[in-house]
């Protein structure tokens, strides 16, 4: 049926329930779209059979009256989530061929809710990157192109770049992402879609390949706010297998959606007006301020004085945790083994890790190892964790004055592949607006808000208090309703 792939999560769910189409028709339409979009390189593994099996179950459930929340809905799964029997690599050569014997909690919840899997989505290797150029399985290409006719391949953002590219290209209606310092929000902004990182602890980390455990958080990416709310409800919930999982009921975020912001105070953090930010992004931010006022919110200026220290603190804490987490890749229990002739155990470790990890992963492991090493631990790691406390206090102080914060999501529109990859530091700076809320564990989302002069999407970010995903989603909805963002990339792939 023509047009099915134009539908989002809610429309597919509701159309399937209403009998407008079968789940099998939906799965077939998206499987065909996925198979026809190889030029985007959004998938590492395609799993049409998984999508079809879930669809056939959904069709049986519909006839028997046993529908589940996501019956009939196929999604993409970021390759950071362990999926039983399906290769899970974190886009790293060191895990090539790894087929987990277990299922991550988040993916298991989605399958239990009736969703099917279209495939495992490409990403930055071990989620380390902001452009999807660190994958061992090749760059993901954004479906968007500049309107200058040059057709330069653009970054879909990262690390959840397969997710963002696939959603923007309408080859999946929604997908999982993970966000450590902005890996859901920045790719969402780059590709004109929505994505929410919930409060740290809402989604179980069990079965998600670990990068920086005190920051990693799963969340949904989809075309609009409502679709994000639907997916987030299915993904969230207490999990005894994750010691940092929050033992709290999952709110009915979809039911609670309202773009009416009367009575809400929205803070504009003055430190987010950074030097060198394009005027177009400033102008979009002003539009966003007008939109939330139009929705009834009161807008107040606030100060988050330690903002400039968030990125350097992040680039100590995240590599430190990564260097520890990635010690597990030893060539013994799973994944790649490099065993040079006559090598002993230590040589095997070093050869395996040298061959298996990409350059950015090695860079971060080395930084992490250095900042945790004897004599440097306090100067770097302890100091970073103290600064992190100050950043969290900044937000606490802001919540005395406002309920939510509104900022741009990223300091630029999508850049071309190769444009920043030679300078790690320039790449890190792309996370300037997303990292502070990650360090504080707060819920935050990006919604598409407009196009720049080159015809590329720009996003606005809403940050909320801990556990106030509803407030974040509602402000996102108010912006979405007023931005009227309907642009989509022209299919060239």
């Amino acid at each position: 049926m023509a047009g099915i792939t134009d539908l989002g999560i809610a429309s597919i769910r509701d159309g399937f329930r209403a009998g407008d189409f079968s789940a099998r028709e939906v799965a077939d339409a998206f499987n065909t779209a996925v198979a026809g979009a190889k030029a985007l390189n959004a998938f590492i593994v395609e799993t049409p059979d998984h999508a079809i099996a879930a669809a056939e179950q959904a069709d049986r459930d519909r006839s028997e009256g046993t529908l589940k929340p996501l019956s009939g809905v196929p999604i993409g799964m970021k390759d950071l989530f362990a999926t039983r029997g399906v290769q899970t690599t974190a886009a790293s050569h060191i895990l090539e061929g790894f087929k987990p014997e277990y299922e991550s909690t988040v993916s298991a919840r989605l399958w239990a809710a009736g969703a099917g899997m279209l495939g495992k989505l490409n990403m930055d290797q071990f989620a380390m990157g902001s452009s999807n150029e660190t994958s061992a399985f090749g760059n993901v290409i954004s479906p968007w192109r500049r309107n200058d006719g040059g057709n330069a391949p653009l970054a879909p953002g990262g690390s959840s770049g397969g997710s963002s590219s696939a959603i923007a290209a309408r080859i999946v209606p929604g997908a999982t992402g993970t966000d450590t310092g902005g890996s859901i929000r920045q790719p969402a902004a780059f590709t004109g879609i929505s994505g929410i990182k919930p409060t740290y602890g809402r989604c179980s980390r069990w079965g998600i390949v670990a990068f920086a455990s005190s920051l990693d958080q799963a969340g949904p990416m989809a075309r609009d706010v409502k679709d994000c709310a639907i997916l987030l409800e299915a993904m969230s919930g207490f999990d005894p297998k994750d010691s940092t999982s929050l033992d709290l009921p999952v709110p009915n975020w979809e039911t609670g959606l309202s773009g009416d912001l009367r009575g809400k105070r929205i803070g504009i953090p003055k430190e987010y007006r950074v030097d060198g930010m394009p005027g177009e992004i400033d102008a979009l931010w002003e539009k966003g301020i007008a939109w939330v006022k139009d929705a009834g919110a009161e807008v107040v200026e606030v100060s988050l004085p330690h903002t400039k220290y968030a990125l350097p603190a992040y680039y100590i804490i995240a590599p430190a945790e990564a260097s520890s987490n990635l010690a597990r890749y030893d060539g013994v229990r799973y994944g790649l083994r490099e065993l040079p002739e006559g090598a002993g155990l230590q040589d095997m470790y070093a050869a395996t890790r040298a061959a298996g990890f990409g350059a950015e992963v090695k860079r971060r492991i080395l930084i992490g190892t250095y900042v945790l090493s004897a004599g440097f631990y306090d100067a770097y790691y302890t100091q970073a964790q103290k600064v992190r406390t100050l950043i969290a206090r900044d937000f606490d102080a802001a919540w005395e004055l406002c309920d939510l914060l509104l900022t741009p999501t990223a300091p630029s529109a999508a850049f071309a592949l190769g444009e920043k990859s030679a300078d790690p530091l320039a790449m890190y700076l792309n996370d300037v607006f997303t990292v502070p809320s990650s360090l504080a564990g707060l819920p935050a989302m990006s919604v598409p808000a407009g196009l720049d002069g080159q015809g590329l999407p720009l996003g606005l970010q809403v940050i909320g208090k801990a556990l106030d995903e509803q407030g974040v989603l509602n402000a996102g909805l108010a912006i979405e309703e007023r931005a009227g963002f309907t642009a989509r990339p022209e299919a060239w792939w």
Partner: protein, 101 residues
């Protein structure tokens, strides 16, 4: 603390941390890594400006209590599944190169 911050890494330091991290590196890789790491470390050193003398390091972003579970076996008897992805499983164990001469 301050002295540590003022330091920059040289190729010997890069070799030492690569060895600690169990990542084999060629001389060319080490030489390429020295300026890269110094660039990044130089940038993160700005954290030294922040007065943190009265601040406790962050331990948990969201207040949560550490749960304890009963001290009982909750899974097991899955040896073959544990070994299923091992590069060299032998006789029900993980195989590694000889470590005792």
């Amino acid at each position: 603390m301050i002295a540590a911050r003022a330091m920059s890494v040289d190729s010997a330091t890069v070799r030492r941390i690569a060895s600690l991290a169990r990542i084999a590196t060629s001389d060319a890789e080490v030489e390429a890594m020295v300026p890269e790491l110094n660039n990044i470390l130089g940038w993160i050193e700005q954290l030294g400006e922040v007065d943190t003398s009265a601040v406790q390091p962050m331990t948990a972003v969201i207040a949560n209590t550490l749960r304890l579970r009963d001290d009982v076996v909750t899974d097991g008897d899955i040896r073959d599944r544990v070994l299923a992805n091992a590069p060299a499983a032998e006789h029900g164990f993980f195989g590694v190169p000889k470590v005792i001469e």
